[in-house]
């Protein structure tokens, strides 16, 4: 079984008369964690339950919507089964407020599962703690603390070995003696299943391209008319795709020139109310939801951009972010962003635009949101030239999250990843230089 960290985002329109009821229920579920006990779900890292308000997109109204978004590891099916097993009653109570929820009472587990699966929306997901399971976060923290105490004791007693390799071996011997840490003797390695589960979309996309390149190389040496036709069709298709993408960029550029509304400063009381909920010392949560800028081509472009970013996400590191996800809902007319991040929302938001290249990436990912400062050719201007308006549009779309679950109250993302590296190196085959580097993790 793989351990890929992913997002499960369930989006369901609320019955018009049940919006406040759903809000109140989410608040209750946060206060009374026994009714939807995420802590009993071994596959869940974080969970958010929030009512996205009705918003306007041009003349159309985007309905009030319930979003339940978990971040989990492993196969989605196992996660869903587990969620229903530990929190089926709470989930039923919650989604009964939504349009299309089975009328039959009580709703069976199968019917609940069908509803959740059918309302799951694809997301572009970033994880800052990929391949670390919930149990491993806990276990690796215990491992690190045990090693730290051991080193402290040896230093106090003057019995710490001399030299990096000797100290590393001394720590190994200590862990070997600890029966409760026996699991740590096996260094963690990413499995092929992990790799494939994370990259299969890219693999699927790359197969025809690789085949075309290989066929193009073989083509001069072959008399096959089928091969010739395939190569021609392949390159013509690529040419058409590039032309279409170019046309799409031009179309979006035309739409950019029509933008009039840029978000101004949001009411202090509202911003303060949201800030008051983001008061955890280490990790906090943020949900942003807002309609896209009007225009026929923006939703299509954004979907393509999000797909590409999703493939690229496993290659990037954002030190202050545990999870981030983007999804488009309401037929691509509304963009939702959800993140579990370190510290406070305004500094977190500004972090991304402190670097010019970061501001360009933010333009690509958020620039289509209504009220976002005017962009030029999608990645220029925008947050780069008007950071104040960028902060304003974030607060414009920021939602008061009613239900949030985070089991890691004193660990930063760096901490979790450092603990993983300690485990990886503990019983690995390290040279003297590597042992020296490993000891710096302590």
């Amino acid at each position: 079984m793989h351990t890929v960290h992913a997002g499960y985002s369930v989006i369901a329109s609320l019955k018009p008369d049940r919006v406040e009821c759903a809000r109140a229920l989410l608040t209750q579920l946060r206060a009374d964690s026994t009714r939807l006990p995420f802590a009993q779900s071994l596959t869940t890292h974080f969970a958010t339950g929030v009512v996205l308000p009705a918003q306007r997109y041009g003349d159309a109204e985007l309905p009030a919507t319930l979003m339940l978004a978990t971040s989990f590891f492993g196969p989605a099916k196992a996660h869903l089964d587990e969620l229903i097993q530990v929190g089926g009653a709470g989930l039923r109570e919650l989604f009964e407020n939504c349009i299309g929820f089975p009328e039959q009472r009580p709703c069976s587990d199968e019917a609940l599962k069908r509803f959740l699966k059918s309302h799951r929306r694809a997301d572009t997901f970033y994880s800052g703690m990929q391949h670390v399971t919930h149990q491993e976060v806990r276990g690796e923290q215990v491992l690190r603390e045990s090693i730290q105490s051991f080193v402290d004791d040896q230093q106090r007693a003057g019995t710490l070995a001399t030299g990096p390799t000797a100290i590393w071996r001394q720590i190994q011997a200590f862990v070997m003696e600890r029966g409760d840490l026996s699991w740590a003797r096996t260094p963690w390695r990413r499995s092929f299943a992990d790799w494939l589960a994370l990259r299969w979309r890219l693999v699927v996309a790359a197969v025809p391209l690789v085949a075309l390149v290989l066929a193009s190389i073989a083509w001069p040496f072959s008399a096959s008319t089928t091969l010739t036709a395939s190569v021609e069709v392949g390159w013509i298709t690529i040419g058409i795709v590039i032309l279409l993408l170019g046309a799409l960029v031009l179309a979006v550029r035309t739409e950019e020139k029509r933008q009039r509304f840029v978000a101004g400063r949001q009411p202090d009381a509202r911003v303060r109310a949201i800030a008051a909920t983001q008061n955890q010392p280490v990790i906090n949560e943020m949900t942003i939801a807002g309609p896209l800028k009007e225009g026929r081509w923006r939703p299509l472009f954004l979907r393509i951009a999000l797909w590409i970013v999703a493939q690229y996400a496993p290659n990037i590191t954002i030190p202050t972010v545990a999870t981030a996800r983007w999804l488009t809902i309401d037929g691509g007319r509304r963009l939702v962003f959800l993140s579990n991040f370190e510290k406070l929302s305004e500094p977190y938001v500004r972090d991304f635009i402190d670097i010019p290249d970061g501001a360009k990436r933010i333009n690509l990912l958020f620039g289509f949101g209504r009220g976002y400062p005017v962009t030029e050719w999608i990645i220029s201007r925008g947050a780069l030239t008007d950071p104040n308006a960028f902060v304003n549009v974030v607060t414009l779309g920021q939602q008061l999250t009613e239900l949030w679950y985070c089991p890691y109250r004193n660990l930063s993302i760096d901490n979790i990843n450092i603990n993983r590296r300690i485990r990886q190196g503990l019983f690995a085959d390290l040279s003297e230089a590597q042992a020296k580097e490993w000891l710096q993790l302590l």
Binding site: G158, V271, E342, L344, P347, I353, S412, N415, L442
Partner: protein, 483 residues
Amino acid sequence: MPDLEQDDIQGLVARGYGKLPSARFLLLQVDDAALARRYLQRLGTQINTVRTSPSDFALQVAFTSAGLRKLGVPDTALATFSREFLEDMADPVRAPMLGDHGDNAPDTWAWGGPHRPKVHALVLLYAADEPTLERQFAAQLEVIAVSGLSIVAIKTTAALPGNKEHFGFRDGISAPTVEGLARGNEQVASERWTHPFKSGEFVLGYRNEYGTYTESPTAAPVDDPERILPDVPGGTRRDLGRNGTYLVYRELTQDVVGFWTYLENASREPAGDPVARAVQLGAKMVGRWPGGAPLVTSPERDDPSQSTENKFSFWADRDGARCPLGSHIRRSNPRDQLPVDHSQADSIDMVRKHQLLRRGRPFGPPVAPSMSPADILAARDHASPEARGLHFICLVGHISRQFELVQSAWVSSANFAGLFKDGDPLIGARRPAPDENTNDEFTCQAHPVRRKYKGLPQFTRLIGGGYFFLPGINALRFIARQP
């Protein structure tokens, strides 16, 4: 290079008045707004600006949001000030975020807290000597008594020898230079992280490090019929923020004896000269030796020739073996190395947007007049019980982006730089175990393996604080105008 309107900017932006070692700060409350405005009108002509460096006396004035409201600044103008300024430092949402909990919580403060009289204005007096200061202070008291103002508190200062703070370490070395205000060879600083900063980082109305303008308060034209304020470029309102800045004031007491006693006890092993060992551990906590030499460039000993050295790089010491990752100077200004997964160039880009222009002054008598650690340790049993500490004052164009980020994400964070339970060893408010977010450790990175110091007491205590607006001269005239 911008042409700063030097006649409209209060001089504190350009200089800490180091040539005027005697200083006193008056925290005032407005009882009668009309009388107070008349006082401010007269005061406006006495305020020192950036243009000239006074040799005998300087006076500056700043206001809290409550003060501006009390003085009659229209609500439509007040609402354009930054949210953090309007809410103030003691706000129940902001204070925990800043790490001001436990002994540092606002409800324990001597001023600025929820149970204390509102502070409306801050008058800062600087003088070349004590007699001049006393004369000017007496004159101000006389005027204040008949100006509808009452005194909330008078804050004395006491310069310490060798530009040191009370723990005995040289202070104020790493001040950012500002475009348009930089002098001499500071203009040609060769390292990018010490390049002069865009003036908009510290003065409203000028371009900042983003190449844009920091949000700045404005007033409606109808509230400024005499056209005291300039127009907002390209806008319909008047520029109330131009040439002003925000002033952050935190009054910290320092437990000097506790600090050195802890250092002495915690550095007993291995054996050696106890004072030298204590100094070494203290230097690790600060990031500089008592004389000022940075650990990055002088890791083994205090080097007098490097006492004002400021062009060092943390990038060259990424593992913190010379200067610990959690040391005070590394937290308060990470320079070119924001720890964990940031490139040097990205670190510089980010850190340059979170700088403070410090203008603080110490108060109280030193434990030992020489300020030497050996003398401090020797004098600990008969140290004067009088409070001592630091009036931490800094100027920033954006309180949240600059001061609050540094304070919350870097200084107060137990997880800064991948650490787990470390707070700022010098100024951090502690959360001792069993708090799940305990932060009373100090990790001293070293080869082959680090050494941890646990159970750090809290060495400083916050006893007052507030956010102020230090207006430009025209803005002061607007504030002081009769409605």
